[in-house]
């Protein structure tokens, strides 16, 4: 095989995938780079994820409601006892929380901000969901499908920092609204996302009430435009997509009544999407010049379908898509071609992905993108041949790198430019993390062989030398993990 073949194989695994595992995958990718990727896309159900400890959204939320009710009852019981016997109650509260020493605080040098608590229900589900993704990412053949999942989950992001509601449902949200559609139709994903309880909660749509609806006339609360604004600005048209504030307000009215059935189950099965006609703004609405008749939930479905098919959406999505995979400033012709495929196929995301794989630019543009912290840790896991059994193996370093899993800072998601990730503090922390990962390897492999296995002839002479001259295997592996070959994709 020629050096050029190796480079193409390396590109397939890194630009499109999660990085080589060094189990012969580089040679396989080098012999037929496009075929290697297409084979992964062709596997039926490849994007789906299920397993023990990962309940569907409604079940997760019902468990959370029950858990909250139980804790509330417990608090009330303690309050009643406290009122009856103040001194006893204090002692009891202290005993119940024996890690908190109220009278003699632990030395300040080691004192944590709070007593260590057993993991909450939300935390248990969150960790199980995270672990399933880390294991999938560690074992995926090319990893293109997991890259697509991560891209779309970031495009339609929710943040577990918002509330326990999101913490317990973020995994189910991704499994139910994102994964089934990454090789399907954009409008289907859009619809699944915008009526999912996690998104409705994250962007406050359950608080949005039509001012002239029955509920609106009864109480003082009104529209919350959060979801409507982000649908247009972030999820579909893009900020320059040609809409105005009136369109945001119209879409917000259209989406009133899109809510979540609460714990009481008055509107439906607790924790599921429901359309509450009592909160829905009556009457037709004009959005982007088109009138939508007042047909309850259909009004919103029709509006979302039109937004998905809007030409601005194709441009917005495909610029972002090619920025993610190819370059911070993607070749304009490439983004344009992908947008054309998006429009011509009515948003067929598999067709768009195949078009990206076909595009010559995707194979000739240099690998200048920085791996995001999650991608870096996954690549490190694959290179060192580790499949985590504890989600902390990735959750902890992600937090140290300032990007806790599923915790973007806002609805615009994690940034997707090299500058954002190659920041001074970011690089410093990556080095410390790489050093730790390498130093904790028992029976570390020979780093020169590792480099050969994951990059082959695509490795630079300088990296080859730096790795070969390392004073220990661990140091060589740390250098390999921090090398441009692994940091860039």
């Amino acid at each position: 095989m020629t050096e050029r073949d190796f480079k193409a194989g390396f590109t397939a695994l890194n630009r499109f995938g999660l990085g080589a595992r060094g189990d012969g995958d580089l040679a396989a990718a080098a012999s037929d780079p496009r075929g290697f990727l297409n084979a992964e896309l062709a596997q039926p159900g490849i994007a789906l994820l299920e397993g023990p400890g990962m309940p569907r959204t409604a079940l997760a939320l019902q468990a959370m409601f029950a858990d909250q009710d139980q804790k509330k009852a417990e608090r009330e019981r303690m309050a009643v006892e406290a009122a009856a016997q103040p001194a006893m109650a204090t002692a009891e509260a202290m005993a119940a929380n024996s890690n908190t020493t109220v009278t003699s605080p632990p030395p300040l040098q080691t004192a944590n901000m709070g007593p260590p608590k057993p993991p909450s229900l939300e935390q248990i589900v969150y960790r199980a969901e995270a672990l399933a993704r880390f294991q999938r990412a560690a074992q995926a053949r090319a990893g293109l499908v997991e890259r697509l999942v991560a891209f779309w989950a970031n495009h339609f992001c929710v943040s577990v920092a918002k509330s326990n509601f999101i913490r317990i449902s973020a995994g189910a949200f991704e499994r139910e609204a994102i994964r089934p559609h990454v090789l399907g139709r954009f409008s289907d994903m859009l619809f699944a996302v915008e009526n999912h309880p996690a998104m409705l909660h994250y962007l406050d749509n359950q608080q949005s009430i039509g001012p002239n609806s029955q509920a609106g006339l009864r109480q003082k609360r009104g529209l919350n435009e959060n979801l409507a604004r982000e649908i247009m600005e972030l999820h579909t048209l893009g900020v320059d997509g040609g809409y105005i504030q009136d369109d945001v307000t119209s879409l917000a009215r259209i989406l009133t009544g899109w809510t979540i059935a609460g714990r009481g189950g008055k509107l439906g099965e607790p924790g599921t999407f429901v359309f509450n006609s009592n909160a829905h703004e009556p009457g037709p609405q004009i959005l982007l010049g088109k009138t939508y008749a007042p047909e309850g939930t259909w009004q919103g479905e029709a509006a979302l379908l039109d937004l998905a098919r809007h030409p601005a959406t194709a441009n917005h999505i495909e610029t972002k898509f090619s920025r993610h995979f190819v370059a911070d400033e993607p070749p304009r012709a490439l983004a344009g071609r992908l947008a054309e495929v998006f429009r011509a196929t009515d948003g067929d995301l598999k067709a768009v992905t195949l078009a990206l794989i076909d595009a010559p630019e995707a194979w000739t543009a240099p690998l200048t993108k920085m791996r995001m912290p999650y991608e870096f840790l996954v690549a490190a896991m694959r290179i060192t041949g580790r499949v985590p059994e504890d989600p902390g193996a990735l959750l902890n370093p992600l937090s140290m790198l300032g990007v806790p899993f599923w915790t973007p800072l806002g609805p615009n998601g994690f940034p997707d430019t090299a500058a954002a990730w190659a920041s001074p503090e970011g690089m410093k922390l990556r080095l410390d993390v790489a050093s730790q990962v390498a130093s904790r390897l028992r029976d570390p492999p020979d780093p020169r062989e590792l480099l050969d296995a994951i990059a082959g002839a695509a490795a630079s002479e300088e990296t080859r030398q730096a790795v070969a001259r390392a004073e220990t295997k661990q140091q060589g592996i740390a250098l390999l993990l921090m090398s441009p070959e692994v940091q860039r994709r």
Binding site: R75, E76, M78, A79, V80, E81, A82, A83, P86, T90, A93, M94, N97, T100, V102, T103, P105, L108, Q109, T110, A111, N112, M113, G114, A161, K162, D204, N224, M400, L401, G402, V403, L409, G410, P411, A422, S423, P424, E425, G426, M427, K428, L429, L431, D432, V433, S435, Q436, S460, E462, T463, A466, R469, E471, Q475, L479, M482, S483, P484, Q487
Partner: protein, 409 residues
């Protein structure tokens, strides 16, 4: 192999090469010209203002705040500030600054947010918008962006301390980040080898890593050959509060370093076993006191032109709950400290604590808008215009007038 020590020395002698942004003009240091610094502590979780700065002179205080109430006598006597208010004994540094007229407290203050969700309350506190849901940028970043680039402060980067830059400092103005970590440092040898590889293969990564190392070195005040890292407490600990502030002060003390910093401290959500003069809250307040001290020590002699403000999303209930703690409330306090502060006073239009005087019969009623206090500091300390403060910095707030006289003339 590059000589690593030489690399570090040249970085060091390069007059703070880390901060020497290409566009930065030489700033004339006019005699007597102020070079102000501003540090904002965000106390996340809602600080119980009534246990931090207690209205011991209010006849209803003791009954309401129960076993958490501070008093002037007893085993842990509170530190009297005037005839009415007393400071939690966990804060001796703040008391000293107060006595030196370098610290003030604003009491019965609140942001415009009137519900009781941490998430939304923090959004409002840090974004500076009158309502939740605006999380793209914070008021401190927009204040930085609103300063003219010819201004010493306006030309500098902001400094965000912590694993994630606090929302208050996020936005279009450039921000430098640093966080104390309990992650061990990579060895100097590994670092040198990697810098050498980057120098040959990827100069952009080399530049970023060099700067990151230099920032860390300055923040931790390590000597050139101090290969073994100082024991690091990790960000989210009491000792970490002190260390975060120490790092911020070290970076801000650099001649062309950042002038504005934000640090978020978590953990103030004291629903159970809050403690009063001692216990959990007192520990946190002790950590905060240490943070004030580190800023003072680290910035001296620049302390005279420094203002530090500590703010929280809302207060806690005036009554204690069934688990010897307090629940989400409304009115609370803000701390101001620094040589630039006209201190030695508690600024309060005291609303009283009788049932009818409490907000919704449960919380300390707010009588001051936190934005007015912050505007007062930004206007008099950094020179921001009232127009910018009422629109770009705190949107839709033009009717909230800056509080006057917070900064020493």
């Amino acid at each position: 192999m590059t000589n690593y020590s030489a690399t570090r020395r040249s970085l060091l002698t390069g007059a703070g090469a880390v901060f020497a942004w290409a566009y930065l003009p030489q700033f004339a240091r006019a005699a007597g010209g102020r070079d102000p610094r501003l540090v904002v502590f965000i106390l996340r979780g809602a600080l119980d203002g009534l246990s931090a700065v207690a209205p011991v002179g209010d006849p209803d205080y003791l009954a309401l705040h129960g076993s958490l109430a501070l008093s002037i006598g007893g085993d842990h006597p509170a530190l009297p500030l005037d005839s009415f208010f007393a400071l939690n004994p966990a804060m001796p540094v703040l008391k000293r600054l107060y006595d030196q007229k370098q610290a003030a407290i604003i009491h019965a203050v609140a942001s415009p947010y009137r519900d009781r969700s941490h998430f939304d309350g923090q959004d409002v506190l840090e974004s500076g918008y009158p309502a939740p849901g605006f999380t793209r940028s914070g008021w401190l970043n927009r204040a930085l962006a609103a300063l003219p680039k010819g201004d010493r402060v306006g030309a500098s980067n902001g400094l965000g301390i912590g694993p994630v830059t606090p929302l208050v400092l996020r936005g279009s103005a450039p921000v430098l980040g640093w966080a104390p970590q309990n992650l061990p440092h990579a060895s100097g040898d590994l670092t040198a080898r990697l810098l050498d590889l980057y120098a040959h293969r990827d100069p952009a990564l080399g530049e970023a890593l060099s700067r990151g190392l230099e920032i860390d070195r300055i923040a931790l005040r390590q000597g050139i050959d101090d290969g073994a890292a100082k024991a690091r407490a990790g960000y989210n600990t009491i000792a970490g509060m002190r260390q975060a502030a120490e790092g911020a002060a070290s970076l801000m003390a650099v001649d062309d370093g950042p002038r504005i910093a934000a640090i978020a401290f978590d953990g103030w959500d004291t629903h159970a076993n809050e403690g009063g003069a001692s216990g959990r809250l007192a520990q946190l307040l002790g950590g905060l006191d240490g943070a004030f001290e580190e800023i003072e020590k680290g910035l001296s002699p620049l302390w005279k032109d420094t203002a530090v403000v500590a703010v929280t999303e809302f207060g806690r209930t005036a009554r204690i709950n069934g688990t010897t703690g307090t629940d989400h409330g409304t009115g609370t306090i803000a701390f101001l400290a620094g040589g630039a502060i006209a201190g030695g006073r508690v600024i309060a239009d005291w609303p009283g604590l009788k049932d009818t005087q409490l907000y919704q019969s449960r919380d300390l009623a707010p009588t001051a808008d936190l934005r007015a206090a912050l505007k007062g500091v930004l206007a008099d300390h950094l020179g921001l215009s009232t127009a910018a403060l009422g629109d770009a910095v705190f949107p839709e707030s033009s009717r909230v007038k800056p509080m006057k006289g917070l900064v020493a003339a």
